[in-house]
């Protein structure tokens, strides 16, 4: 849907008159300004005023408030990716406080739990194309990628200020830290830059090297800025005001850096091993790292033998047929650190061997964005890049992130193209709301939990999802809360949860094995898969080797930056819910539990609806459910068949 300037009469593009030519810059480059608050009655949060005003113009209005049962289910799925327990629902229903107070307490409780980081960390991992293997032809495992993953989860749990979160991923090795542990954690953040999908067997090493730099530019510019700077590798950007000079100015930063991915290009490896622990970065103070991570995230498991296993103790198979396993060394992380200083030559038409003018690193000049701080001769410039990204005046960094967070709570972004804030992206449906949120985010010290709480306390978020009436435009402008399908992780985790199988600990140690390529000992595999009891975020993500469960439920391709998941609805999902062993097992275990804790089929049906759908069964439903149980032979089997169908139902699969 296009809600362009015609609807709101706003001018999106700004035109700068340069000395010789006209440069069109995207709307998103305009300086961040605090918009005036619309004068609207009945808002619960300031942000509601923008939504309500826009809706009024279209002849729509916000819907009714959702009831408490709906609200606690929605909030728990959104913040934890799990269902509230029957006890939690009942406590909320009985809570004597006003809706505002009682619901606020629920949100606060959820934000404090470590389950929050597991849910929201995964959102970020989609953006940074997180994976536990290189993909491409050889597909070697990244044996320490999970350290970065856990760092992200812990950062969300600790409510790390967004500026720090950004800076650590671009230049964590250069950030000050009070303690050895803090510095080690900062370095872990740079793992983001080392996780790219690389062709370790690329014939030309120079091509490989430049592809890696390209990946680093791409992930940095799209994740934090919503800009596709990598489009300027071979020629000036066709749409956005980014030149090839800007690209190579940025390339110089990464060319002057050392990438520690733990994998080796075939030109670099020894003894045919593409996994090379020597190519991981060794942080100091490793013995305390495990405890530092625990303090940050309040979680366990990282101390399992931490700091005892050295890199050379890669566990070798006893015979050639067993997969290569790896020991865990807490002092090793994937990282990017300062390397040999150099400037990058433009590659004409992207050809690695056709060198043009050498560009001084850091000298980007994207019109109307603030200039980057000067890079010293002995600095790669990543620190300056980080400083530039997190400057409160940078118009993109905060807008892009508040939009991402919004999209996770409301189904789509205020800017629908969450990874593209350039000319080719969509324009915001609520430009002033976007700026209002961005300003609040910056003023709130970049607290992601604070921003999420603000959005969730709004009247807009607390609407019912019953949306019988209203125009198409009003729907798009949030008249009524949109239904959102739960992601593959949530579907799996919730089925484990309700059937009593879910293990909330972090799996210990390296969960990938193999060395890539073919053969029994080499082929890359996960140690734990979808059949294990761990939360889905902790299962290894292997490029080009996604499980059928991931594929059928639209898990994003981990080689692609994807801030917004595609939702397709296909028969394979129907087959999954009808027949998959994982679903059957969950339904059976759930039914067994049901038979133990309750007596009488009517009571059991009641309990089943409370656990699975967080509400009471209606009379009609109860009758139908009992009929089905009887038709399927009653008892555990009958209830298992019923539970399976309730889990397959749209209501279970959607956040309403």
């Amino acid at each position: 849907m296009k809600l362009g300037c015609a609807v709101f009469g706003l001018l999106w593009g700004t035109t700068l008159l340069g000395a010789v030519e006209k440069v069109v810059v995207p709307w998103s480059f305009a300086a961040l300004k605090r918009p005036a608050l619309p004068q609207v009655e009945g808002a619960w949060q300031e942000m509601d005023r923008f939504v309500m005003e826009q809706l009024m113009k279209e002849g729509g209005k916000l819907g009714e408030a959702a009831d408490r049962e709906t609200l606690i289910r929605r909030a728990t799925l959104d913040l934890h990716g799990l269902l509230p327990t029957v006890e939690e629902v009942e406590a909320f229903l009985r809570s004597p406080g006003s809706d505002e107070v009682a619901y606020g307490e629920v949100v606060d409780r959820l934000l404090k739990s470590p389950r929050f980081g597991e849910r929201w960390g995964r959102h970020w991992l989609d953006v940074v194309r997180y994976a536990d293997s290189t993909g491409r032809s050889w597909n070697a495992p990244f044996i320490q990628a999970f350290r970065y993953r856990d760092w992200v989860i812990d950062a969300f749990n600790a409510d790390m200020p967004y500026a720090k979160f950004v800076a650590a991923q671009v230049a964590g090795d250069l950030l000050p830290g009070r303690t050895v542990e803090e510095r080690a954690l900062n370095v872990t953040g740079t793992g983001m830059l080392a996780l790219g999908s690389m062709d370790l067997t690329a014939l030309e090493y120079e091509q490989f090297r430049l592809d890696r730099i390209d990946d680093q530019i791409d992930v940095t510019s799209r994740a934090f800025l919503g800009l596709t700077i990598a489009c300027a590798r071979c020629h000036d950007h066709k749409k956005d005001p980014v030149t090839q000079v800007d690209y190579y100015a940025l390339a110089g930063l990464f060319e002057s850096s050392q990438t520690w991915s733990g994998t080796a290009h075939k030109r670099e490896h020894r003894g045919n091993l593409y996994v090379e622990p020597e190519y991981l970065f060794r942080v100091s103070g490793e013995t305390k790292l495990g405890s530092a991570m625990r303090a940050g995230g309040g979680l366990n498991a990282l101390d399992a033998g931490s700091g005892t296993m050295m890199s050379e103790e890669v566990v070798q198979p006893r015979n050639g047929n067993e997969p290569i396993r790896y020991g865990y060394d807490a002092s090793l992380v994937m990282a990017v650190t300062e390397g040999e200083m150099s400037n990058c030559a433009i590659r004409v038409a992207g050809d690695p061997y056709e060198e043009g003018k050498v560009v001084k690193r850091g000298e980007m000049a994207i019109p109307s964005l603030p200039p980057m701080p000067k890079v010293g001769p002995q600095e790669s410039g990543r620190l300056q890049l980080a400083q530039w990204l997190v400057a409160p005046t940078h118009p993109l960094t905060s807008r892009v992130m508040v939009n991402r967070i919004w999209a996770h709570l409301f189904g789509q972004g205020i800017v629908r193209t969450v990874d593209d804030f350039g000319i080719t992206g969509e324009k915001p449906t609520h430009p002033e709301l976007l700026d209002h949120l961005a300003v609040k985010f910056v003023e709130g010290g970049g607290s992601m939990k604070g921003l999420i709480r603000m959005m969730m306390m709004s009247r807009t978020y607390r609407q019912s999802s019953e949306r019988a009436a209203g125009s198409e435009v009003a729907r798009e402008l949030l008249a009524g809360m949109p239904l959102r399908r739960v992601e593959m992780e949530v579907l799996r985790d919730v089925m484990l949860q309700v059937s009593g199988q879910l293990d909330l600990t972090r799996p210990e140690g390296v969960q990938v094995m193999g060395n890539g390529g073919k053969g029994n000992s080499g082929r890359t595999r996960a140690v734990i898969g979808v059949e294990s009891p761990y939360r889905t975020v902790y299962l290894p993500v292997l490029r080009d080797l996604l499980s059928p469960m991931q594929e059928v439920w639209d898990f994003p391709n981990p080689s692609q930056i994807q801030g917004q998941r595609v939702v397709t609805t296909v028969p394979g999902q129907g087959l999954f819910m009808l027949n998959n062993d994982f679903v059957m097992e969950a339904a059976e275990r759930f039914a067994e539990g049901l038979m133990e804790v309750t007596k009488g089929d009517e009571v059991r049906v009641e309990r089943l609806y409370q656990v699975l759908l967080c509400r009471e069964a209606e009379d009609e439903e109860r009758a139908e459910a009992l009929e089905l149980v009887a038709e399927l032979g009653g008892g555990v089997e009958g209830f298992s068949g019923l539970a399976q169908m309730v889990m397959g139902s749209a209501e279970f699969r959607y956040v309403r």
């Binding site: 489009c231 949306r467 994807q562 609805t569 087959l575 027949n579």
Partner: protein, 431 residues
């Protein structure tokens, strides 16, 4: 009334609301092509390893006169069919279909490394992760059989890019290839506990709940309509998928046509017959893979052995499609990732060669009995009507009714296409 619906359901018919609301757009529903299509479907036969063109489909009399360090063609070439195109004795059965074959002797690819070239021929791009050709075609045209996947790949290779070669990259996952083995392979087709009659009861219960949920919360929501339909289709697939793979239902003479039951040709013959059955049902893009074509050593024996496994089945596939009047709208494309050089490799075979090799096509609106393009005297380099990978892709898309410049997908701020910034349609091969 609802209770009587039984198998096949058809809930749509019962819901007045459903007719009023915005229809659920099934991403796999058939779509109009850009221009009238010559072919309705593709069967892509991929020969993994880089088969030699010099010993099969690219007749080089000059090479036959050369001594060391060259390797002369290892099989005798003869004129075939009415057209008289030259095909070697490595493919005696296929040679009988010469008048259906369009030999493109001028194919080229960029990179003579297996991994890069394999990924390039499947996705058009060796450097980045991109959607595969089958995913693009399915994205562009949808598919005719809603109870089968739109893109099926039979026994694909597991390495050299693996799933990337039938992946959808940034296109929705719906369009990626479904990998099947000779024994089926669509996941979750059967239930370990419930009989079909139980599932009918289960579904009746659930669809009622789904319909109630939809009507109560968000009647205009097309995604919920999709959920309801996905269960109907899933239930149908439980039958239709095993049916399509039930090769034993074919009469003996048809099985014989594909060499089923013969140890040498059985495996590939099954793949080819499976491909025909999928094509018949309306599956849009079908890939069949044969491996072991990297002949650095003992060209005559090694190539002869490999060719023996696919020669009869491929000839059978063409004959069978013809007798069913399906060949004219089924495009068969047979290609390796590259060809092989004129020099003798250390083991009596040939090394890799990307600068010129042969792709052949049949049916689907291409001229049979045609030798198109040419390599130089020794078959080393394409010198006439060179057809780099993007041209090959553009030409296949064109035959399917798709304009390779118009078939785009917006991702990361730009419109991507299978052919990136290149691609020329070679209309010289069209009927």
């Amino acid at each position: 009334m609802l209770q009587q619906a039984g198998v096949g359901f058809g809930w749509l018919a019962f819901s007045a609301l459903a007719q009023e609301q915005k229809r659920f757009e099934n991403p796999l529903a058939p779509k109009m092509p850009h221009h009238p299509a010559k072919a309705k479907r593709v069967i892509f036969v991929f020969l993994n390893g880089g088969p030699s063109h010099l010993d099969t489909f690219d007749w080089k009399p000059e090479l036959a006169k050369m001594g060391a360090p060259y390797l002369v063609p290892q099989f005798e070439f003869k004129p075939r069919g009415q057209s008289g195109i030259m095909i070697s004795e490595a493919f005696p059965e296929l040679a009988k279909q010469a008048d259906e074959l369009c030999l493109i002797n001028s194919a080229t690819t960029k990179n003579p490394g297996h991994q890069q070239a394999v990924v390039a021929i499947h996705t058009g791009n060796e450097m980045f992760v991109r959607p595969s050709m089958g995913a693009w075609v399915t994205y562009g045209l949808g598919t005719m059989a809603q109870d089968l996947p739109g893109f099926v790949t039979i026994n694909p290779i597991g390495d050299l890019g693996g799933a990337m070669n039938y992946g959808s990259a940034f296109l929705p996952a719906t369009f990626q290839g479904t990998r099947v083995s000779s024994g089926g392979g669509v996941p979750d087709l059967g239930n370990r506990v419930w009989a079909e009659s139980d599932q009918v009861k289960q579904l009746r219960f659930m669809q009622k709940a789904n319909r109630r949920f939809q009507e109560r919360t968000d009647p205009g929501n097309s995604e919920l309509e999709g959920v309801i339909q996905s269960y109907e289709l899933a239930f149908q697939m439980q039958r239709s998928v095993p049916e399509v793979f039930a090769l034993e239902d074919e009469p003996q003479h048809v099985q014989d046509l594909y060499g089923i039951g013969n140890g040498v040709t059985d495996s590939f013959g099954r793949s080819c017959l499976m491909a025909r059955r999928l094509a018949e049902k309306g599956v849009r893009f079908i890939q069949v893979t044969s491996s072991g074509w990297d002949h650095h050593n003992r060209m005559k024996e090694a190539l002869g052995e490999r060719a023996g496994t696919i020669d009869l089945p491929l000839a059978g596939l063409i004959a069978d499609l013809k007798q069913r009047d399906m060949l004219k709208e089924t495009l068969i494309v047979c290609s390796g990732e590259f060809g092989r050089g004129a020099h003798m490799d250390n083991g009596g075979g040939r090394g890799h060669q990307a600068s010129g090799f042969t792709v052949w096509m049949a049916g689907g609106g291409v001229k049979g009995g045609l030798r198109y393009g040419a390599t130089d005297e020794l078959g080393v380099k394409a010198v006439e009507q060179a057809m780099p990978t993007p041209d090959l892709h553009a030409t296949i898309l064109h035959l399917m009714g798709l304009d390779h410049e118009e078939l785009t997908y917006r991702y990361a701020g730009r419109d991507f296409r299978l052919t990136d910034v290149a691609g020329e349609v070679h209309s010289g091969i069209f009927m």
